[in-house]
């Protein structure tokens, strides 16, 4: 109880209240505009939060992260365009509901499901916090190194069909963080005697380039779309909660998936949504309705994605390891304020951790209240033309990069990463492994150096229970990936063989004929045929 009261005490400030309000309203607005997304907004606002207290800055960023998915469901349901990437599954059942004249019911259901997912995950994590506080101190340098390595491996293998390039981009991230002055031997690494590279490449410069500037370039080079908004009709905005209560099993299982997947680095919303949706469809009495406006499908998708943000904070707060790009950006807020997330934070500042979760809880209530009142006006923001949005993001990106160190060189580097991010987007390649490679690569370098100081033989690296479990998980993940690649390859070979209309190559045909002639069975066949031939000839 004391912990709860001291956490509330941290939140009882006017600037935290303002941060909650700005985060919730801003996040919903950003989510509702297709083409912006929380990553762009967080990247731009990151330097502005450095001058704030850690709790205020993190509340704004968490607010944007958590509430953008609420906003993202609006265009997904009304115009079949997801506001944020994770709302893609919402369009499957949300838009068909709109098409049959029930947009208000669909929105209400999406809001209620998101609210349930958000509240469920925060309550789970508040209850789970004492267990985490007990487990977190078991993580020493070796364990954190192995956890970071596992995080990178998971991020890479999560990109199915692109794992090689995702791995190469993660390695690029690891290389980027090594540029500059090496902190132990004070030697230069890949600075090419350029003063601007001696301090290294700032993570925020890369983040702003890869997420904000690249998105501005995408929008500036795209065409404006004609968007027809739908009039809100069909049911009330308050009926969703009643409908949600009729499906408690789907809602709680989906929220559970969200919490578990959110905690695993590199997995996140997409896997949680996919698993929840598949579960809901398999256990439904009317699976044929999925994709045609099934309320259970909408509940599964929205509950799962909103349960992730709170859970994604667990590896960041407990181990200092971000599992995805957004939490990687938040890590820099901690570093700027000299607060080191990790086992120490759970031991010494548990009230700060609980305060963050309480902020998320309040935020969910604020967002739901805001949406129930302002949905009608919010629909208008989807009408902002794409290219004008591009102009706005380019202007805002300047604030993000230039306010860091007032350096034109940083801006030039950000522009270079912006072009790289644009190319990656055009090629449908992921930019997230670069960011996680940079962050986790830095952590791995420090922790491996510290951990190896006490290691005599390679087996000492895994002689503690947690490190051994982590090592086993790494082996398991790698083995699963190898098996998956092998199965994919076999499947491809089969498909190629089936779609191959040519019999085979002529050389191989001759080779097979030759082998057939030389084989014992071939000789026997020929002898038999010869016998029949002789008998046939004897007839004449």
């Amino acid at each position: 109880m004391d912990l709860f009261l001291s956490a509330l005490d941290i939140l009882m400030r006017w600037d935290v209240a303002l941060a909650l309000l700005v985060g919730s309203v801003g996040g919903v607005l950003i989510g509702a505009i297709p083409g912006v997304g929380p990553a762009v907004a967080i990247a731009i606002l990151l330097p502005a939060t450095f001058s704030m207290d850690p709790i205020v800055g993190l509340t704004v960023l968490l607010g944007i992260y958590g509430s953008s998915m609420y906003g993202g469901s609006i265009p997904a349901i009304l115009i079949n365009t997801p506001g944020t990437a994770v709302n893609a599954l919402t369009t499957y059942d949300g838009y068909p509901m709109t098409a049959r004249g029930e947009p208000r019911r669909a929105l209400s259901l999406a809001y209620s499901s998101s609210f349930f997912g958000g509240i469920f995950s925060v309550i789970c994590l508040i209850l789970f916090a004492p267990v985490l506080a007990r487990i977190a101190p078991m993580f020493g340098s070796r364990e954190i190194f192995l956890a970071a390595l596992l995080g990178i491996i998971l991020v890479v293998v999560a990109h199915r069909g692109q794992a090689l390039m995702a791995g190469a981009l993660a390695a690029f991230g690891i290389f980027l963080q090594t540029i500059g002055m090496e902190p132990v031997k004070y030697s230069q690494r890949y600075t090419f005697d350029q003063p601007f590279l001696q301090g290294g490449i700032n993570l925020i410069v890369v983040v702003l380039g890869l997420f904000a500037l690249s998105q501005a370039f995408v929008l500036l080079t795209a065409e404006d779309e004609r968007i027809r908004t739908t009039r809100l009709s069909g049911g009330s905005l308050f009926q969703g909660m009643r409908e949600l209560l009729r499906h408690p099993r789907v809602a709680s299982v989906s929220a559970g998936f969200g919490v578990i997947m959110g905690m695993i680095p590199g997995v996140g919303e997409f896997t949680a949504q996919f698993m929840s949706y598949t579960y809901a469809q398999r256990t439904s009495k009317r699976p044929e309705d999925f994709g045609r406006g099934a309320s259970e499908g909408l509940i599964a998708a929205e509950t799962a994605n909103n349960a992730v943000p709170a859970a994604a904070m667990v590896p960041l707060l407990a181990l200092g390891i971000p599992g995805e790009a957004l939490t990687a950006m938040m890590l820099s807020v901690f570093y700027v304020h000299n607060v080191v997330p990790g086992p120490g934070l759970f031991q010494n500042d548990m009230d700060f951790v609980v305060a963050l979760y309480l902020a998320l809880l309040i935020l969910n209530v604020l967002v739901l209240a805001f949406l129930l009142v302002a949905t009608k006006s919010l629909i208008q923001v989807v009408r902002i033309p794409n290219r004008f949005l591009g102009v706005c993001i380019l202007t805002l990106s300047f604030v993000g990069v230039y306010s860091l160190r007032n350096s034109a060189t940083d801006c030039m580097l950000a522009a270079v990463f912006g072009v790289l991010g644009y190319i990656l987007k055009r090629l449908s390649l992921p930019a997230v492994p670069i960011i996680l490679g940079m962050v986790l690569g830095g952590i791995m370098e420090v922790k491996l150096r510290a951990g190896m100081a006490r290691v005599k033989t390679p087996l000492d690296m895994i002689d503690r229970p947690v490190s051994f479990i982590l090592f086993l998980i790494i082996i398991l993940v790698l083995a699963t990936q190898i098996r998956r690649v092998w199965l994919d390859r076999r499947d491809l070979k089969e498909a190629e063989w089936q779609s191959n209309h040519r019999s085979t190559s002529f050389g191989r045909l001759l080779l097979r004929r030759k082998s057939s002639f030389l084989m014992e069975r071939g000789k026997l066949q020929r002898a038999r045929r010869l016998t029949w031939y002789r008998r046939l000839m004897d007839l004449f």
Partner: protein, 176 residues
């Protein structure tokens, strides 16, 4: 007709070969420079060497980028690749706009440059209506007031503000 391997490739064909080739070539070049750009410290353990992590990063880039290139279903450039390269070059214009904005702010000041930049770029994007021009100007003012005056982010005052009279000068440098 596309082969099974091409159909199963995640992502579009255009530009993939060029990007993969460029990525591997750059990685190889950087890896060749490792002896020159990093040091091997004496009496230091292998994992603590300053060269170790750049080697891990660049080794990974070369190995996985090379395997990606090897596994690509295409070995030749076609007309779509060339069009895609031109499309990549198009964004250099917007990078130029961005860098121009960056270089002019310390000279002419944040508010004047933003007030000119946003409407000009909006015009370049094809918006001519009064509504959009008005929206551009309002957006420019809101950004400057929100970030510099209200949130106090570190953006220096323009050199041109030095010519303003006393009180106005410090107000402009601090807020606009």
């Amino acid at each position: 007709m596309a082969t099974e391997r091409e159909r199963r490739f995640a992502g579009p064909r255009r530009g993939q070969l060029g990007f993969a080739l460029g990525f591997v070539a750059l990685s190889l070049l950087l890896l060749l420079l490792i002896g020159d750009q990093t040091i091997w410290a004496a009496k230091t353990r292998f994992f603590a060497q300053p060269r170790f992590w750049p080697a891990v990063g660049l080794g990974g880039m070369v190995l996985m980028g090379g395997l990606h290139l090897y596994r690509l279903p295409w070995r030749r450039f076609n007309v779509n690749d060339r069009t895609e390269l031109r499309r990549w070059a198009l964004v250099l214009e917007y990078s130029g706009w961005f860098m121009g904005y960056v270089l002019l702010v310390p000279v002419l000041g944040y508010l004047p440059v933003t007030l000119a930049f946003v409407p000009l770029l909006a015009r370049r994007m094809g918006y001519r209506s009064r509504l959009m021009m008005g929206a551009s100007i309002i957006f420019a003012v809101v950004v400057v007031v929100l970030f510099k005056s209200f949130l106090g982010v570190k953006i220096p005052g323009g050199a041109i503000y030095e010519y303003l009279p006393g009180a106005l000068r410090s107000f402009f440098i601090l807020n606009l």
